[in-house]
C-alpha cells in the first residue's frame, strides 16, 4: 500500500499551524450582532415572571428572547425531547438558560442581561442519586419512569444465581467513578445567518451537524431543506459537542427574527454548565470464578447520576452495561441500571461513553480475583480472552480481536514478570484492558438509511473532490477520508480536496461520536472511490489496449507494464466515455444478532482492544502519586496514518490518566444564608485540575495490526478506531499499580493523595486497606428481560425464563 500505513502530515495540518483553520468563533460577518444567554442562578425553581422591558430599552440591544418564544422542545434522543432552548417555567440546574439578549456587541449584551428581572420560586434541590431515590417529589421531569428515576433497565443473560452457586468463589465489590468533563480548549460557538435566498445557515462547533440540522428544523418549525448546518473544525470535542445545544437554537431564531447574522461564544464557566460529560456512577459487581480463574457469571448493578436533563442518558445507561462481555469469556451476565435526575448540569457522552466507569470496576475486580487465586493478572486475562468471531452472552458479535497480543506486548515491554509484586514498597505496576466500539450499530433515531455517505467529483484536470458529512474534531477524519480515496485511486492525498460536515453540501454522515468515522465513512469512501476507479479503468484500458482489471493505479499513474497514463489523462478519457464523472458510496453496519428489546446498544461493526501497564510511585508519607511511565498496546486492526493514530492513543492515555488522578466535576451547597443552593464547585479551568505537560509521563505506544489476510472484513483495509478505546484501561491500571506499590485499594476515582493516605492509615490500624464506597442503596430495579445466551439454546430473543442448561465455563 502506498498511502495507508505511511506516516504523513495530515491534510489539514498546514492550516492548523498557520492559524488559518477557521473555528466557529473566528467567523465574522458584515452587520453581525452578538448574543449572550441569561442562566438560572437556582438549581431547581419555577419561573413566576420575567420582565425584559429594561433590557429591551438598553441602548444597543436589538432583541430579547425568553422561553415563550420557543414552544417546541428538543433533545438528542427521540425518547428524551425534554429541553427547551430557553426554559419557559421550570429550571433544573444552575446554568439552565432562561433568556437571551442580542446586542451590537458582547459587552452591551452582557450589560443588558443584568437588567432582566426574573421572579423564581425555588424548589427543593435533588443533589445526588441517594436524594433522588428518597425524594420522588418534587419531580425534576414528569416523564421519568419512577419518581426522579429517569430510566430503569434490567437484563439477564443466563441464570447468574445458578452460576454463582456453582462457582468456587464469588467476589463482591463496590466502585464509584466521579463525574468529569471534556474540557475541550475551544468553547462552544455558533454563528447564524439568513442567506440571500432567505434560508438559514448555522456554523457551529458541533460534532453532529446532521442531528443539529434535524433539531433546528423541528424547534424552529422550518422545512429541513431551508436549514443548512456547517460544522466548523472543532477545537476538541471528546463528546462535549455531541449534543444539540440551547445556544444553537436560540442564535438561529435570533438571526431569523432580525435578518442579521448573530454570533454566540460560550465563556468557560458556561461550558462547565453545558457539560454533558462523564456520568458519576456507583457500581456493584458480583463475579463468580472457578479456582483456576475462569469467570462463571457476573452481576453488575449501576446507579447513575444524570443531572438535569435526558441528553444521551438512556444510551449512556445501556452503555454502562453493554461492553462487560466483549473482552473475556463470560458465560452468564446480569445487568441492572438506574439513571436518576438531579439538579446539576446534564451528563452525557464523554470519550468512552458510559463504558469507562464499569471497565474501571471490572478491571480492578479482576486484579483482586487474581490476587486471591494466587495468579498473575496477565495470565488470568490471557486465559480468558475471547476468540475471534465469538458471540457474547448479551449477543454482541465480535469480529477480529487482538487483545491477547496487546497484553503480551505491554507485559513484555514493561518488564512485568520481573517487577510485578517484586518492586520495593512505594513502587508498582498495574495492568488493565479495555475494548470499545468502532461505531454504534444503530443510528440515534430509527431509520434504515445509510449511516455514512461519500460523494466524489473527478474531472479531466485530475482533481478529486470528496464530499462527506463527517466532522473534523481534531481526530483526523478529513485525513482518513483522503487517505482512503488516495489509496484506492493511486494518487497523492494532497491532490484531493475535501468538503465535510456541511448538511447543505455533503451526503449525510451521522457525526463524530461512538468512534464511528473510520469504519463507516471509510467503507463508504472505498465504495465511492472503487466505482470511479472502475470507470477510469474501463476508459484507460481501451486506450492502453488491456482489460481494465489488469491496470494498476499508483503514484498518480494508471499503468500496465511500461505503458501508463497520468491519472488526469485517464480521468479525461473516462469523462469522454461516460460523461461527467461522479460517484457515491454509502455504509450501513451489518445487522446484529441480538433480537431482544434493548439489543440496539452495544452492537458495532468491529471492536478495538487495548491493554495498558502503568508504573506508579507512591510516597507513603504524603500519598503523592507519580506516574513515571505508561505502556499501551492498541489493537487498531490497520493503521491509516501512524502519526495520527499514535496521537489518538497517547491523547487517550493523557485524558485517562488525568481522570484517574484529578479530574472531577463536583458541586457544593451554598450556606443557608446564601440560599443553600447546590452550585458547581469549580467552573473554571484553573480550579478544575487537569494534567499539564509537566505531569505527563513517558508513553510507550504499540499499535497492533492484524496480519495480512486476517483483517477485520467489516473495516476499511482492516482499520479500527483509536480515539476512545485506549482511554479505557488507563484508570483501572493506575488503581492496580497503586495497590502493587503500597498495598491499598482505591476503589473510586479520582485517586487523590488524601485517599491514598486515608487507606494507608487504615492499613496501619489493621483495618481494610481500602477507600471506596461501602454502601449500595436499594434501587427498585424491574424484573429483568431474560435472554438465553447463544450456548444455552437462545436465538437472540427474550424468553419467559431459563431452561435448565449446563453452565459453560471457559473456552469451548
Amino acid at each position: 500500500m502506498k498511502v495507508i500505513g505511511k506516516p504523513r502530515r495530515r491534510v489539514d495540518g498546514r492550516a492548523k499551524v498557520t492559524g488559518q483553520t477557521r473555528f466557529a468563533d473566528d467567523i465574522v460577518l458584515p452587520r453581525m450582532l452578538h448574543m449572550k444567554l441569561l442562566r438560572s442562578p437556582h438549581p431547581h425553581a419555577l419561573i413566576e415572571g420575567i420582565d425584559c422591558s429594561k433590557a429591551q430599552g438598553h441602548p444597543g440591544v436589538h432583541l430579547v428572547l425568553t422561553g415563550k418564544d420557543f414552544p417546541v422542545t428538543f433533545g438528542i434522543l427521540p425518547v428524551s425531547q425534554d429541553e427547551y432552548p430557553l426554559a419557559p417555567e421550570h429550571v433544573r440546574y444552575v446554568g439552565d438558560p432562561v433568556a437571551a439578549v442580542i446586542a451590537k456587541d458582547e459587552q452591551t449584551a452582557a450589560e443588558a442581561l443584568d437588567l432582566i428581572a426574573i421572579r423564581y420560586k425555588p424548589l427543593k434541590t435533588i443533589s445526588d442519586p441517594q436524594e433522588a431515590l428518597q425524594n420522588p417529589e418534587p419531580r425534576i421531569h414528569a416523564y421519568s419512569e419512577l419518581g426522579n428515576i429517569h430510566r430503569l433497565q434490567a437484563f439477564e443473560f443466563g441464570d447468574v444465581q445458578e452460576a454463582f452457586a456453582k462457582s468456587d468463589h464469588v467476589f463482591e465489590d463496590l466502585f464509584f467513578y466521579e463525574g468529569n468533563t471534556h474540557l475541550a480548549i475551544e468553547q462552544h460557538a455558533a454563528v447564524a445567518e439568513v442567506d440571500g435566498e432567505g434560508k438559514l445557515t448555522l456554523w457551529s462547533s458541533t460534532q453532529v451537524p446532521h442531528y443539529v440540522h434535524r433539531s433546528l428544523a423541528r424547534v424552529l418549525q422550518l422545512p429541513a431543506s431551508h436549514v443548512r448546518v456547517i460544522a466548523t473544525p472543532n477545537g476538541g470535542g471528546f463528546g462535549g459537542k455531541c449534543d444539540v445545544c440551547n445556544h444553537e437554537m436560540v442564535v438561529a431564531k435570533a438571526a431569523m427574527l432580525l435578518g442579521r447574522p448573530v454570533k454566540i461564544c460560550l465563556n468557560r464557566e458556561e461550558v462547565f454548565y453545558m457539560h454533558r460529560g462523564r456520568h458519576p456512577v456507583l457500581m456493584k459487581f458480583r463475579t463468580g470464578v472457578t479456582k483456576d480463574g475462569r469467570l462463571t457469571g457476573m452481576h453488575l448493578q449501576t446507579l447513575i447520576d444524570g443531572g438535569g436533563y435526558g441528553s444521551y442518558g438512556t444510551a449512556s445507561t445501556f452503555y454502562t452495561g453493554a461492553l462487560q462481555t466483549v473482552t473475556y469469556e463470560l458465560p452468564r451476565y446480569k445487568f441492572e441500571a438506574a439513571r436518576v435526575f438531579t439538579n446539576k448540569p446534564p451528563c452525557g457522552p464523554k470519550r468512552g461513553h458510559g463504558t469507562p466507569q464499569p471497565r474501571f470496576g471490572q478491571e480492578i475486580q479482576l486484579d483482586k480475583i487474581a490476587e486471591k487465586l494466587g495468579m498473575d493478572p496477565a495470565e488470568l486475562r490471557l486465559k480468558s480472552v475471547l476468540k475471534a468471531n465469538a458471540i457474547t452472552a448479551n449477543w454482541l458479535k465480535i469480529g477480529s480481536i487482538g487483545l491477547a497480543e496487546c497484553i503480551r506486548q505491554v507485559v513484555e515491554r514493561s518488564g512485568w514478570k520481573g517487577r510485578f509484586r517484586k518492586s520495593p514498597f512505594g513502587k508498582g505496576l498495574g495492568l488493565a484492558c479495555g475494548s470499545y466500539l468502532c461505531g454504534a450499530g444503530l443510528p440515534i433515531y430509527f431509520n434504515k438509511m445509510p449511516q455514512s455517505g461519500v460523494q466524489l467529483l473527478v474531472d479531466r484536470s485530475g482533481q478529486v473532490t470528496a464530499f462527506c458529512g463527517a466532522t473534523e474534531i481534531g481526530q483526523g477524519s478529513d485525513d482518513v477520508l483522503v487517505a482512503i480515496i488516495a489509496e484506492v485511486l493511486g494518487i497523492d492525498p494532497f491532490d484531493i480536496r475535501c468538503v465535510t460536515g456541511d448538511t447543505g453540501m455533503t451526503p449525510v454522515d451521522l457525526g463524530s461520536y461512538s468512534s464511528r468515522v473510520t469504519v463507516m465513512m471509510g467503507n463508504a469512501a472505498i465504495q465511492a472511490a472503487q466505482k470511479i476507479k472502475d470507470q477510469i479503468a474501463v476508459a484507460a484500458g481501451e486506450t492502453l489496449g488491456v482489460s481494465p482489471e489488469r491496470l494498476g493505479f499508483a503514484n498518480g499513474k494508471v499503468f500496465f507494464d511500461n505503458h501508463s497514463l497520468t491519472f488526469a489523462e485517464a480521468a479525461g478519457l473516462a469523462e469522454e466515455k461516460f460523461g461527467t464523472l461522479g460517484s457515491v458510496g454509502s455504509y450501513k453496519p451489518p445487522r446484529a444478532p441480538g433480537r431482544y428489546k434493548g439489543a440496539g446498544v452495544g452492537p458495532s461493526p468491529a471492536y478495538s482492544y487495548t491493554a495498558c501497564v502503568v508504573e506508579a510511585e507512591v510516597d507513603p508519607a504524603t500519598g503523592w502519586i507519580t506516574v513515571p511511565k505508561i505502556w499501551i498496546a492498541h489493537d487498531i486492526g490497520r493503521t491509516i496514518n501512524p502519526v495520527l493514530a499514535r496521537g489518538q492513543v497517547e491523547g487517550s492515555v493523557y485524558m485517562g490518566l488525568s481522570e484517574a488522578l484529578m479530574e472531577e466535576q463536583v458541586f457544593r451547597r451554598l450556606p443557608p444564608k446564601l440560599s443553600g443552593a447546590l452550585v458547581h464547585k469549580i467552573p473554571s479551568l484553573l480550579e478544575y485540575k487537569s494534567l499539564t505537560s509537566l505531569d505527563m509521563p513517558e508513553v510507550d505506544t504499540v499499535l497492533i495490526e492484524q496480519e495480512e489476510g486476517m483483517s477485520d472484513p467489516n473495516c476499511p483495509f482492516g482499520a479500527k478506531e483509536a480515539g476512545q478505546g485506549p482511554l479505557l484501561p488507563v484508570m483501572p491500571a493506575v488503581a492496580n499499580a497503586i495497590y502493587d506499590a503500597v498495598g491499598v485499594r482505591i476503589d473510586e476515582l479520582p485517586i487523590t493523595p488524601d485517599k491514598v493516605l486515608r487507606a494507608l492509615e487504615r492499613k496501619a490500624k489493621g483495618e481494610t486497606p481500602r477507600v471506596g464506597p461501602d454502601h449500595f442503596p436499594a434501587v427498585p430495579y424491574p424484573e429483568p428481560v431474560v435472554v438465553p445466551p447463544p450456548w444455552e439454546g437462545g436465538d437472540g430473543n427474550a424468553s419467559k425464563g431459563f431452561q435448565k442448561t449446563k453452565l459453560k465455563v471457559g473456552a469451548s
Binding site: 495540518g13 498546514r14 492559524g19 480548549i185
Partner: protein, 162 residues
Amino acid sequence: MQRHQQLSLTVNGEPAEVSFAPYKTLLELLREDLRLTGTKHGCELGECGACAVLLDGEPKLSCLVLALECQGKEIETVEGLARGATLHPLQAAFADLGAAQCGYCTPGILMTAKALLEKEPQPTRERIKEAISGNLCRCTGYQQIFEAIEAAAKVMSDESHR
C-alpha cells in the same frame, strides 16, 4: 469617557494604528479589531495558554494584557511566523509530527516554543515541559509536541550553522 482609544504598535513587524474600545484586552484587540483570529481564547482568565503571543519577544497571555498597555510595543502572533509561503521550522515540525490535532492550542504553544528556542536553542526535554506547562492541550498527550519542538530546534540549529 472616550468611547475609543488610539494606539500605535507593531504587529508581526508591521506598524499598526488601531482605534478600539478602552476595556478591550490585547486578545480582543488582535482578534476583533485587527482581525488576527489565529490567536485563540479558551478561558479569558489566563488559565489555558491558548492566547499566548509574544510581547517584545516575551510570551504573554494576551487575555490578561490590556490593549491600552501596548502603545509602542512589538507583538508577534502565529500569523507572523511563516516567512512568505515557507513555514517556520516549528510550524513544519508541528504539522509533520502530529503536534497539532484539533489545532486550537497550537498557536499559543508555537509562540511559547518560539520564545523558548530564541533564548535556549537546544533545550532539554525538561525545559520544554516547563516552558509549555502553562499551555493546556487536551488532544495530544504532549509527547508529539515535545518531539516537534525538539525536531524544530535541531532544524534551526542546523540552519544557523550553515
